[in-house]
């Protein structure tokens, strides 16, 4: 029995009468997947652990921070952690006496500090030279103890690990977001259209290729310096300018589409030729697979003046979409010949509406597997890079860079064990979740 006989027909979805009739024995695809996934205890555990890690990543500022949650200082009550968010956005300002305060040494009326009262960037001068977790530490009280020791300079290892969770997950999620975006679009185009189904009139081909080049020129070429300045300024502003460029490009393509319209009255230009999309995109897969990701990132970070974690994310995303694209291509090859797509065609829906509204949603499940494994490998690549000291700014402490500190101070076993264990657990958990999904989605496991 095929896996996808369980897929809900999108037209059926609207038919509430049938839905109600079937509600008693829910046989929908996702219900089955859920049931199978729940059987695998390890997979369920790994999913819970992922949620736990996500929680730590999001609330890292509240778990480990130099600032107190709330404090009374000179008669006023402050909520410094929340306030620092407001200051970052720019809607609030620190009072003069707290502007460059050493939060640890202030004389509070009362204070409520987070669980770990350190930030990764804080340097505890009293406990520098790698203090072990079990040694007597030079701290005010147990409240200020470095539970996982410190490094050479006196950074708190536990605080660095908690904030490292955020970087690790961010790398995994953002790079896979980019990868799935590219992979889903290219894979579905290749799978749905194949080599023969995309037929375009000569007028459109000429117009699109001409304005495609010109559009690249006007949208990106002429704005090179704007883009470059934005990148030098900050990454978000670069993204903004890049989106502006992309909008210009798309607008030019729309114009090209309109322009081709009148020319279609000429018989020669109206004739349609098929574009072998599948061949083109499959060649692209091959090229991408020939590019060694790690070395590409190393080369790219060699030419970047200032190391930036976002660049690592983007490069990982840009090079790891082939897995996702292959999955979705194979799925769409199958889906495109199903009746419901034919009927959608017969109803006169546009090709793109059929692909994005009807075909892709039914082909997404295997992509989840690729994403789970992809996050694991992205985290692994990022930690390898920061372990080698590439691509991540020196002052950012990540799991990988913490681990690399163990090489400089071989006596510090806590630097060798804890960050490495965090990487190991995270990678394993994502791999386990991927395995669980593979099993749950595998029709052979079903009765």
């Amino acid at each position: 029995m095929s896996l996808f006989s369980f897929i809900k027909n999108p037209f059926k979805k609207r038919d509430t009468a049938i839905e109600i009739a079937h509600a008693h024995y829910d046989q929908s695809f996702w219900a089955n997947v859920k049931k199978e996934f729940r059987k695998n205890k390890l997979a369920v555990f790994s999913l819970r652990f992922i949620l736990f890690l996500t929680f730590i990543a999001i609330t890292a500022d509240f778990i480990a921070n130099e600032k107190p949650f709330a404090c009374g200082y000179k008669g006023n009550t402050y909520f410094p952690i929340l306030k620092s968010y407001a200051v970052d956005i720019g809607i609030a300002k620190w009072p003069e006496d707290l502007k460059n305060a050493e939060w640890k040494d202030l004389q509070y009326d009362w204070s409520l500090f987070p669980l770990i009262p350190y930030l990764p960037k804080n340097i505890d001068g009293n406990n520098s030279q790698s203090v072990s977790p079990f040694e007597t530490q030079n701290v005010k009280s147990t409240r200020w103890r470095h539970w996982l020791g410190t490094d050479e300079l006196g950074h708190d290892v536990l605080a660095a690990m908690i904030h490292g969770t955020r970087i690790a997950l961010l790398v995994g999620v953002i790079s896979m977001f980019i990868a799935s975006f590219i992979g889903i679009i290219l894979g579905s185009l290749a799978g749905y259209f194949g080599d023969t189904r995309l037929k375009v009139s000569r007028a459109s081909i000429i117009s699109f290729s001409l304005f495609g080049v010109l559009g690249m020129f006007w949208a990106y070429g002429s704005r090179t310096y704007i883009l470059r300045d934005a990148l030098a300024q900050s990454f978000p502003s670069f993204i903004f300018q890049f989106l502006v460029s992309t909008c210009i490009f798309l607008a030019i393509l729309m114009f090209a589409r309109l322009l081709a319209y009148p020319f279609k009255s000429i018989n020669y230009l109206r004739q349609k030729i098929s574009i072998p999309l599948d061949i083109i995109i499959s060649r692209l897969f091959e090229v991408m697979l020939s590019i060694p990701t790690l070395i590409l990132i190393i080369s790219v970070s060699a030419i970047v003046q200032e190391p930036n974690i976002f660049i690592v994310m983007v490069v990982i995303g840009l090079t790891s979409w082939t897995g996702i694209a292959r999955f979705i291509r194979a799925e769409l090859l199958r889906v495109r010949s199903l009746e419901y797509i034919e009927s959608a065609n017969a109803l006169g829906f546009s090709e793109f509406r059929i692909i994005f509204r009807h075909a892709i949603p039914n082909a997404l499940s295997p992509v989840l597997i690729a994403i789970a494994f992809g996050i694991a490998s992205a985290i692994l690549i990022e930690s390898t890079l920061s372990f080698l000291g590439i691509g991540v700014p020196a002052e950012t402490l990540t799991w990988g860079s913490l681990l690399s500190l163990a090489r400089q101070t071989p006596t510090a076993w806590w630097l060798a064990i804890f960050p490495g264990f965090a990487i190991f657990i995270t990678v394993t958990i994502f791999n386990l979740a991927g395995e669980g999904l593979t099993d749950a989605l595998d029709p052979r496991n079903r009765k």
Binding site: I291, I303, L432
Partner: protein, 474 residues
């Protein structure tokens, strides 16, 4: 079959071109001026005309020798603000500034005149006789003139002008330089005055022919000339040749070991699926697969190699074995030293391969023809090794393609942790020294190896699985 191989090789070529293109684009965007790095000289404000001429000549000569004074590509597709001869400005930093000014004001002609005037002014400055009372002022003007080469913003250039004006006002004896200086000033004012911003949006194409940097770089690469390392000025090929054997020795042994150990493990664990011992093996393999090798390597160095804990193995970076050492000593020492790196290098691919083997085997064992083989009374051994094993090799063969790049990627970590002078540590060292020829050669090399791996995997595939036909059928 031969036709298929030929076809695969033909696909190889465009892939190679695209990869080379990517590498080249990255390499041309590398910051810094390679010629200056190699000359190891900063052209400061000091020095006399003759000396300045000599450095400039050395600079231009080296640039010519490296072929960096040629246009970058076969053609250039740009806006009309730059000229097709802009590449002839030898200094990269000057060219970047000028192109930026030209982009801001949209008139290359005026910018070129401004540059010419600036150069004249500078050489006039150097030709000034050395007098005690003006020496300091001239040095300061030289500094400001240098700043003009690097600044494109109107406000900054105006600021530099006002500073120079001030020096001129306080040193009346410098009046001889006034003519050249005014030419610079009016040159810049012309740029601002004759703005033609529409030029930014008018595309032009310049053709340069085959005498360009990319063409030369690619043909050199294909003939084995990879350029010169910036660090010690040796040819890249000889630097790589020194490092390659160390990497090859370890990676080939580890690939061999991984396959030899992994295949039986994979087969065995698939036969006895569900038994406790096999489930333990599978779990163990899964854990091994997820263990980051840089972690294990670091732990081994910290806990097993000298340090404060056990010292079972030599610390990384031990002295090389002397050439005159007795043979058995060399052999035993080499083996002793490579145990840990080999272990770290092997275990992950071992786990990966055996997991794939297990999956492939499980897949095959569920097929009808295996049941038939059992039904006709073949013993289990024959069923497994003769009928199932060969057919389950397919996924393992596909892995072969990714083995080479994985080996080089692994070499970065293992070699840097264990201080082995191989390709990985060479590339890392080059990276931190910004020695681009080495980095980009490694990148091209790995890409080519990956492509060869893909090709070999495809061909092996055809040999193992007779069902795969490569005649062109659509």
């Amino acid at each position: 079959m031969l036709k298929y191989i030929l076809k695969r090789v033909l696909i190889f070529i465009p892939t190679l071109i695209i990869v080379s293109f990517l590498t080249f684009v990255i390499s041309t965007n590398a910051p810094g001026d390679p010629v200056e790095t190699m000359l190891n000289k900063n052209q400061g404000g000091e020095g006399q005309a003759a000396q300045k001429l000599a450095t400039e000549k050395a600079y231009n000569d080296l640039k010519h020798q490296l072929g960096l004074d040629l246009p970058i590509f076969y053609f250039a597709f740009t806006n009309t603000t730059t000229s097709d001869t802009a590449y002839k400005i030898t200094k990269g930093s000057h060219r970047a500034t000028l192109e930026r000014i030209a982009y801001t004001y949209g008139n290359w002609g005026d910018v070129a005149k401004y540059y010419k005037a600036l150069q004249n002014f500078e050489s006039d400055l150097y030709r000034q006789p050395k007098e005690a009372k003006t020496a300091e002022a001239i040095t300061r003007i030289k500094d400001y003139a240098q700043q003009l080469y690097d600044n494109y913003e109107e406000s900054k250039i105006k600021h530099v002008f006002s500073e120079i004006n001030f020096i001129f006002d306080s040193n009346p004896s410098l009046i001889v330089l006034n003519g050249a200086y005014n030419a610079v000033k009016s040159g810049f004012e012309n740029c601002v005055h004759n703005q033609r911003l529409t030029n930014r949006y008018i595309p032009t194409i310049h053709f340069y022919g085959t005498n360009n940097q990319y063409h030369n770089w690619l043909t050199n690469f294909l003939t084995g000339n990879f350029g010169i390392s910036y660090q010690d000025k040796r040819p890249v090929s000889s630097v790589i040749w020194d490092a390659l054997p160390n990497t090859m020795y370890l990676s080939l042994i580890s690939i061999f070991l991984a396959y030899i150990i992994a295949l039986p493990i994979g087969v065995r664990s698939s036969i006895n699926k569900g038994r406790i011992r096999e489930r333990a093996t599978t779990t163990g393999l899964f854990i091994l697969y997820s263990l980051p090798n840089f972690w294990i390597a670091t732990m081994m160095v910290v806990f097993l190699c000298g340090g404060d804990y056990l010292s079972w193995f030599p610390a990384p970076g031990a002295e090389p074995i002397p050439d005159d050492a007795p043979l058995w000593y060399t052999i035993s020492e080499t083996i002793y030293r490579s145990i840990l790196p080999l272990f770290c290098w092997t275990y992950a691919s071992l786990a990966f391969i055996s997991r794939q083997m297990r999956g492939g085997m499980l897949n095959v064992l569920g097929q009808d023809y295996i049941r038939t083989a059992r039904a006709k009374g073949l013993n289990e051994k024959e069923v497994i090794w003769k009928h199932a094993f060969k057919n389950s090799l397919l996924p393992v063969i596909t892995l072969f393609a990714s083995i080479f790049p994985a080996a080089i990627a692994g070499s970065f970590v293992i070699e840097s942790v264990f201080a082995i002078p191989g390709m990985g540590s060479l590339t890392l060292k080059a990276l931190f020294a910004r020695d681009y020829p080495i980095i980009f050669t490694t990148m091209m090399f790995t890409a080519v190896l990956t492509m060869v791996g893909n090709l070999v995997a495809d061909i092996l595939y055809a040999f193992v699985d007779p069902r795969i036909s490569f005649s062109s059928k659509k």
